[in-house]
């Protein structure tokens, strides 16, 4: 009971922090209404699409094809595994105060296991509940409408819930184990790097998995062991209407029990907080008498040493590798060069927000807003180009096509200016994870119609496109100075 008491206090604390973060995000009625509408639309679409997809499969089942239901379960398990991973990563990113809480709790009279239960329980419940709710809305209504046997529905719910729990515990175990090892060998920025490695591992696993997925569907009667469908064979325990599956249940049960045990063992490991190791990259670059050059050098140093940007670059490498693998692209494809160029410029979105609070300092140092902006843009372009060159060197193993490389360099430069402009309009800091998420989603969705219009224009007349891009860039360039001036004057 004592353990539960301390854990419950922490449990409440975490819920309170989430509630406050959400309330801080939904601080106006307008935002609440917008998010409410989005929420209803999102679930409405999920419900409708789910009804259409599963409705057809269920009709097959009702017409006597007993394997249809098993195939439906397999696809549901894969979906819930995917969604669980997404929620896991999302919640890890959206709990920025975790480090502070861990440090505060070290000196408090709470046992390691109490801390872990209190800290992980709300996260685990949240991940499982959200994932389950999502899948439940997509699939279960269609089953109810089609009057599927209640035992089968219950079996589906059991398998889905168990699958989500297993994936969550597995991810936590891997994450904690890597954190423990990394804290021992003292890698700089290890938390972010580990999150990135996990994301990469999961995406890689799924890509590999889809290659065997079709075979799995064809030979459905023989269960092939896979973590993301580990609970599938248990469905046969709920109804005799379902086909028999050849499976060694002991392996699956043994694996599930092992994951649970490993989770508890790994949870009792506590990582010590040692002195922080930070990158001192570009230490050799000396500052200059010219103020603009000075700001550019400062910008290069801080961008190269920023934790999130370092993580982003690792992620960028992974994305480029994956894009090349999935789309089977090489250097002769201009798309991959432009994509790498655009990716390398993404860091510029953080540039302004990272040190918005330092504007008064620059003013006190006698720097004008023009010098500040020129320096910032120069620094951002140099860093973006450097990242582009590094990414290209690491990832392009094919003979170099000069025109495509040049195209990538231009994309990197223009992308850097555009993203600096967006970052100026919506300053991003690591303390605003919701804002970061929204802006990132906004950029991704915004890019789709822009790229569509661009490709159409390119097909009609590419010179019109060049002229439009040129005028757009000039407008953005002047807007950057105009907005910086406004912000500069406000900070007095």
């Amino acid at each position: 009971m004592k353990i539960l008491r301390s854990s419950l206090i922490l449990f409440n604390l975490i819920l309170k922090i989430w509630k406050k973060s959400l309330a801080g995000f939904l601080d106006t009625t307008q935002k609440k209404v917008q998010i409410g509408i989005l929420f209803i639309l999102f679930f409405g679409i999920c419900f409708f699409t789910g009804y259409l997809i599963s409705g057809e499969i269920l009709t097959l089942f009702l017409n006597g094809d007993s394997r249809a239901l098993y195939l439906l379960l397999l696809s549901e398990l894969i979906t819930i595994s995917f969604i669980t991973v997404m929620f896991f990563i999302l919640l890890r990113c959206l709990t920025p105060e975790q480090n502070t809480i861990t440090r505060i709790l070290i000196c408090f009279p709470i046992k390691e296991i109490e801390k872990k239960i209190g800290y992980y329980l709300p996260v685990i419940i949240n991940i499982i509940f959200s994932s389950f709710l999502f899948v439940f809305i997509i699939y279960i209504p269609a089953m109810l409408v089609n009057k599927i046997d209640l035992m089968i529905i219950f079996g589906f719910i059991f398998c889905l819930l168990l699958q989500s729990i297993i994936i969550t515990l597995f991810l936590f175990s891997i994450f904690n184990l890597l954190m423990f090892i990394a804290s021992k060998i003292r890698i700089p920025y290890y938390k972010n790097i580990i999150t990135t490695i996990i994301v990469f591992g999961i995406v890689w696993y799924h890509i590999q998995f889809f290659e065997v997925y079709e075979n799995m569907l064809q030979s459905y009667s023989v269960y092939k062991f896979e973590l993301i469908t580990i609970t599938a064979p248990f469905i046969t325990l709920f109804s005799s209407q379902l086909p028999k599956i050849e499976c060694n249940y002991l392996i699956n049960v043994g694996f599930i029990v092992s994951i649970i045990l490993i989770f508890f063992i790994v949870s009792s490991l506590s990582e010590k907080i040692e002195e922080e190791r930070l990158f001192k990259i570009f230490k050799f670059i000396k500052f200059h008498k010219n103020k603009i050059v000075n700001i550019a050098i400062k910008e290069i140093k801080i961008l190269a040493r920023n934790e999130e940007i370092v993580m982003f670059n690792i992620l960028a490498c992974i994305i480029v590798i994956l894009v090349r693998k999935v789309l089977k692209l090489n250097i002769s494809n201009s798309g991959i060069c432009m994509f790498t160029g655009a990716l390398s410029s993404f860091i510029s979105i953080y540039s302004y927000g990272m040190e918005e609070n330092l504007l008064p300092l620059y003013k006190n140092l006698g720097i004008s807003y023009k010098q500040y902006t020129y320096g910032k843009l120069m620094g951002n372009i140099i860093v973006s180009l450097t990242i582009y060159i590094i990414l290209s060197t690491i990832l392009f193993t094919y003979p170099v096509n000069v025109f495509n490389i040049l195209l990538g360099l231009i994309t990197s430069c223009t992308g850097s200016i555009i993203l600096y402009f967006i970052g100026l309009l919506f300053p991003l800091t690591s303390e605003k994870p919701f804002m970061q998420g929204l802006i990132s989603i906004g950029i991704i969705f915004g890019m789709i119609p822009i790229l569509f219009i661009m490709s159409k224009l390119f097909q009609i007349n590419k010179y019109i496109l060049y002229v439009i891009i040129f005028f757009l860039m000039v407008t953005i360039y002047f807007m950057i100075f105009k907005i910086t001036k406004l912000k500069w004057n406000k900070e007095s």
């Binding site: 502070t100 000196c107 408090f108 009279p109 003292r186 010590k272």
Partner: protein
């Protein structure tokens, strides 16, 4: 009795953050831990609380070893860093700590809040507080917990004059009730007023330990600043300081 027994911490680059540090603190005693920046004060405290892994050594409160729940329940630490959960309001944070430590009377808590005069801001998020207000929240939680020993790292930093006076009175009251305190501070004047003994530490080693009067006698001076300079800073460094100041 609170005892630090031979604590050492060597970092991976071979640097000794603290070396063979031993100290005993009686009930009702206040010791000031003083030393230049980077001398190892915070490393020592972090080693005591297991925030970092000491290379060797232990700390004890009576029979309880550091790292045990009983030790943590009876030794409270106020870090120099403003480690608070900023999404919570001041009241919520105080309630959170009081629930962890169980038997804390509501009146006692309210009196401390009134004493530090922050009742008006208590329902605002900590994120909006000034440095001094955050420090006050840390101190309220420290004194509301019925601990037997307390370690305060730079407790005066950021506090206004009134709060500093209140804090000194509170520390006196705390030790008069049988508590012991280690105050890590650069404020030598306050140390002289408040502490029974002073420990001077430099380059990770304990250089001097004694009452203020003893230390003054040992270094043949009436000025505590001079004791500190003579003890913690090497003679040639002292001459360098003079030369550099004169050259400005």
């Amino acid at each position: 009795m609170f005892k630090i027994d031979n604590i050492s911490k060597q970092y991976s680059n071979g640097f000794w953050g603290i070396k063979n540090f031993t100290l005993e603190l009686s009930e009702g005693e206040i010791i000031c831990l003083s030393g230049p920046n980077g001398s190892g004060k915070t490393t020592l405290i972090n080693s005591i609380f297991g925030i970092i892994n000491p290379t060797s050594g232990k700390a004890y409160l009576d029979e309880f070893e550091n790292g045990t729940i009983q030790f943590k329940r009876n030794v409270f630490y106020v870090p120099d860093e403003l480690l608070l959960i900023e999404a919570l309001t001041g009241k919520e944070y105080i309630d959170f700590v009081s629930k962890i430590y169980i038997d804390i009377k509501e009146d006692f808590k309210n009196n401390l809040v009134n004493l530090f005069h922050i009742d008006t801001y208590l329902n605002e998020p900590i994120k909006t507080y000034s440095h001094g207000m955050k420090k006050k929240i840390q101190l309220i939680t420290a004194f509301m917990v019925k601990s037997k020993a307390m370690i305060l790292d730079e407790p005066y930093r950021g506090l206004d004059v009134e709060a500093i006076i209140i804090l000194k009175k509170l520390i006196r009251k705390y030790v008069s009730n049988g508590g012991s305190a280690i105050i890590s501070s650069h404020d030598l004047v306050s140390a002289e007023q408040l502490c029974d003994r002073m420990a001077i530490i430099s380059c990770g080693s304990l250089l001097e330990l004694g009452t203020i009067e003893d230390l003054k006698y040992r270094y043949q001076t009436d000025d505590i600043d001079e004791v500190f300079l003579k003890c913690s800073i090497k003679q040639d460094r002292g001459e360098d300081i003079e030369k550099l100041i004169n050259s400005l």
